[in-house]
């Protein structure tokens, strides 16, 4: 008779879990290194980890990688912030005024299912290989999560909260600024958080398809020139970038929404 053992009841402590994970990771990395060196895997396709790390370090020092990342981030952030600037207010307005929502609903539902990368050729047509092309693509792609979350955040504000604001005889303007915005801010942040990886993905894709610089281009170009270790180094840089952006965002979230930190921890 099969027996499934769930050690969850006596949960593995956090520290033990982290230790396990770390050891496992080191184990995997070690296997990688050895397998590549022993040519168990084709080292032209999967170079030894040490070579990748060496090249990564070199590229870091020479400024190559930081420069490419800067180039990419400049485009990405401009598109992202523009999307936030336009679509958060729009989402809030749509959440507050049902008429506006109904009017725009069809257009939104028509544009939303378009897979963002497919917009790239359009952007290429209009903007060529310029930065504007990437900014436009990111603007378009990040729009929907930002818009829909802002919209949802406003719509799902509990009626009791609104009634509370009304019973204190608040003017409509004050209700908007002092109640509606703070109450919907967690969900607005969710939209921004979801859009962050989208931003990263699209900047990489748009650089692979239509660019001469940036980290996405760098990775693809390295592959085309068969500088394989360099390609992996680029991917490592990208992973670190993604991780770093996440940390930055979470830090910002805790700063802006200090009350949320404790709340979400409690519901886990």
């Amino acid at each position: 008779m099969e027996q499934c053992h769930v050690r969850a009841g006596v949960a593995i402590s956090m520290r033990e879990s982290k230790l396990n994970g770390l050891l496992f990771l080191l184990g995997v990395l070690l296997v990688w290194e050895l397998a590549a060196r022993a040519e168990l895997v084709n080292p032209l396709v999967v170079p030894p980890l040490s070579r990748i790390l060496t090249i990564f370090y070199d590229l870091l020092g020479s400024g190559q990688i930081p420069m490419q990342i800067l180039v990419s981030m400049k485009r990405a952030l401009v598109g992202y912030l523009l999307a936030a600037l336009v679509f958060i207010p729009l989402g809030i307005l749509m959440g507050l005024h049902d008429r506006l929502y109904r009017s725009l609903e069809v257009v939104v539902e028509m544009l939303r299912p378009i897979p963002p990368p497919v917009v790239i050729p359009v952007a290429l047509l209009f903007f060529g290989l310029e930065d504007t092309m990437k900014i436009f693509v990111i603007f378009f792609s990040c729009a929907w999560p930002i818009l829909l979350n802002a919209l949802d955040g406003v719509r799902h504000i509990d009626r009791v909260l609104l009634h509370t604001a009304q019973t204190f005889s608040l003017s409509r303007g004050k209700i908007l600024w002092q109640v509606i915005l703070p109450a919907s801010s967690p969900q607005i942040m969710t939209g921004l958080r979801v859009s962050l990886p989208i931003m990263l993905i699209l900047v990489v894709i748009s650089e692979m398809v239509g660019s001469t610089d940036g980290i996405g281009y760098f990775i693809l170009d390295s592959q085309r020139r068969f500088k394989v270790a360099q390609m992996y180094a680029g991917m490592l840089a990208l992973a670190i970038l993604g991780y770093g952006l996440n940390l930055l965002f979470n830090w910002l979230c805790n700063l802006l929404l200090p009350w949320q930190a404790g709340m979400t921890r409690r519901t886990e």
Binding site: V160, L161, H163, T164, S169, G262
Partner: protein, 258 residues
């Protein structure tokens, strides 16, 4: 002049299917300044609708509400409603102090006195030391106390309370009843209280209006004469207490369903 008057109030809703349902039948009553009055009625009889209408948050289908002789058309500035769902009513993004100060800030009062007033109320409700805590960190009873402090800091002349202690455990409820009476005695606010707990109504009030089943109408008015300050042990032990309770209970359960 009564501080609050309800004249011929009725409220009906249109349902999803298209029929209208009458939530409040015909309510006429008056509250004198400084009184503590309660509405008691069976669940679902429309008590919340009644209170929301009096608070100006719902427009009546007919009749009118007068606060200090003036008819209201929207939430009047010297009246505040404390909601039953306190966890949805408190502002999650503000600390306890931030919440309690909210009403004052809304009035444009940001002075030092406003903060001092908020702090004193926090102390009065027994939450001294918790000024910087966020609502989610507090227990249910504490949250409701914050809501009450917030309402009182605003300094309303009339305080409406919609089953404020309904979702709390029995002991917390008794504690808060006394806290409320203390505050009321000190601040001399007029309180209009709704509850389905008959004994709570008797314990707290000067007068009680018993409501019928939906559509709610006043079927009986009772004057409660127990000495103040009231005491959980002695007041409730009085013979008259039980009489009143049985009287009201029979009145309510005798109400045929409609």
């Amino acid at each position: 002049m009564p501080i609050l008057e309800v004249q011929g109030l009725s409220k009906s809703y249109r349902q999803m299917g298209g029929d209208t349902t009458l939530a409040i039948g015909n309510i006429t009553c008056a509250v004198e300044a400084g009184e503590f009055v309660s509405f008691v009625g069976p669940s679902g009889c429309g008590k919340t609708t009644l209170l929301m209408s009096i608070a100006g948050l719902l427009a009546p289908s007919s009749g009118r509400i007068l606060v200090k002789g003036r008819e209201i058309s929207g939430p009047p500035p010297n009246l505040v409603l404390v909601f039953q769902e306190f966890n949805k009513s408190l502002f999650a993004w503000r600390s306890v102090l931030g919440n309690v100060r909210f009403g004052l800030q809304a009035r444009g009062n940001r002075s030092r006195e406003a903060e001092a007033r908020a702090r004193s109320l926090i102390e009065l409700v027994g939450l001294k030391g918790f000024e910087k805590a966020y609502p989610w960190e507090l227990s249910g009873g504490m949250q409701q106390r914050v809501a009450i402090a917030r309402a009182l800091a605003y300094g309303p002349e009339v305080l409406l309370m919609d089953e404020p202690f309904g979702s709390l455990d029995a002991l917390t409820r008794l504690e808060l009843e006394d806290t409320l009476l203390r505050l009321w005695a000190e601040l001399r606010t007029t309180i209009l209280f709704i509850t389905h707990d008959i004994e709570e109504a008797i314990y707290l009030s000067d007068r009680i209006w018993v409501l019928s089943r939906r559509p709610a109408e006043i079927v009986e008015e009772l004057r409660i004469d127990f000495a103040r300050p009231r005491d959980q042990v002695t007041t409730r032990a009085e013979a008259r207490f039980m009489e009143l309770r049985n009287d009201i209970y029979q009145r309510i359960s005798g109400e045929g369903g409609r």
